[in-house]
């Protein structure tokens, strides 16, 4: 069963029937974590690098930001039985897409924020497909742990 993870959202599950899928990874980044022993997987779709002060009170979802969303993703995975040492972490997105203000570098900032947070947490990426100029669709199969990507200009899906 496809479970859609929206923009600024996250899902963690151990249901092997689930396939977590997120669309329109332009400047946003999709981060997938998977524990192959516990069969726990999570997919986060974050939009911006840092939560501004007071964002918790403004009602913006913490999943919107890398610095709040990524630690929460890992914590939820642990609560579902995942172990840090077993987690396979993969990321996609962070493309140079023109945003509303015409500044091109939100994607780049998102990628840098992701790498900084993972480095400080002592986690390395197992695989990545970041940057470029194309939006991506990313899905994580909970039964197998496979992460598959699709983008408009490339035919078919590729496994990350």
């Amino acid at each position: 069963m496809n479970v859609v993870v929206g923009v600024g959202d996250c899902c963690v599950t151990s249901d092997p029937e689930n396939v977590l899928i997120t669309y329109a990874l332009g400047s946003c980044v999709g981060l997938a974590v998977y524990d192959p022993v516990a069969h726990v997987g999570g997919l986060l779709h974050f939009m911006l690098p840092c939560a501004p002060p007071g964002s918790a009170q403004s009602g913006k979802s913490p999943w919107t930001y890398a610095d709040s969303g990524i630690p929460m993703l890992f914590r939820e995975a642990y609560e579902h039985g995942a172990k840090k040492s077993r987690l396979r972490v993969r990321a996609a997105g962070g493309a140079q897409i023109m945003d509303e203000s015409g500044i091109f570098n939100i994607g780049q900032r998102n990628c840098v924020a992701l790498r900084k947070i993972l480095w400080k947490a002592g986690v390395m990426l197992a695989a990545e497909d970041m940057g470029g100029s194309q939006a991506r669709t990313m899905r994580l199969e909970i039964a197998s742990g496979r992460v598959l990507l699709r983008s408009p200009r490339d035919p078919g899906e590729k496994e990350l």
Partner: protein
């Protein structure tokens, strides 16, 4: 020929800062200005197909942020000042090497060991800040990093 190194300097600096210091500047300009407050300075010489010197000035708070990011520590963790200057020395080394590699992709160069020193706010600017062939100023929320590139006999 020297113009090409000049244009590679901001590109090399940004690539280095993103890749190993996880920092993206808010503003990049070619207009140097001495950062406010106490600073850390670094210089190193290069020789080979061209010879010269790279000089660097960085605000102390920004230097501590770079060090925390480089080592993967929290920003409020205590990092010994010797380790901070060691990180800034390596930053200067990598920016210089990356800029020269971009220019000299089929040439050759050697780099001297970087020299670092602290500069109080009231102290005179180092000699490398005047007469540089090119300068590059990168602004971050925590402070400013300024790079000076000179060709000719190192000071």
């Amino acid at each position: 020929m020297t113009d090409q190194v000049v244009e590679f300097l901001p590109e090399a600096a940004q690539h280095t800062l993103e890749t190993m210091f996880f920092s993206v500047p808010d503003v990049v300009s070619a207009a140097p200005r001495r950062p406010a407050g106490d600073l850390i300075a670094a210089t190193l010489a290069f020789h080979g197909s061209h010879h010269g010197q790279l000089g660097l000035l960085v605000s102390e708070p920004l230097a501590r942020t770079f060090a925390a990011n480089f080592f993967g520590c929290d920003e409020d963790s205590e990092i010994a000042s010797g380790h901070v200057t060691g990180v800034i020395a390596e930053l200067a080394n990598m920016i210089c090497g990356a800029a020269l590699t971009r220019r000299e992709s089929s040439g050759a160069f050697d780099l001297s060991a970087p020299r670092t020193f602290r500069l109080a706010a009231a102290e005179k600017s180092p000699e490398f800040t005047s007469g540089a062939t090119s300068a590059c100023c990168l602004e971050f929320p925590e402070g400013t990093l300024v790079l000076y590139l000179s060709f000719g006999t190192p000071l």
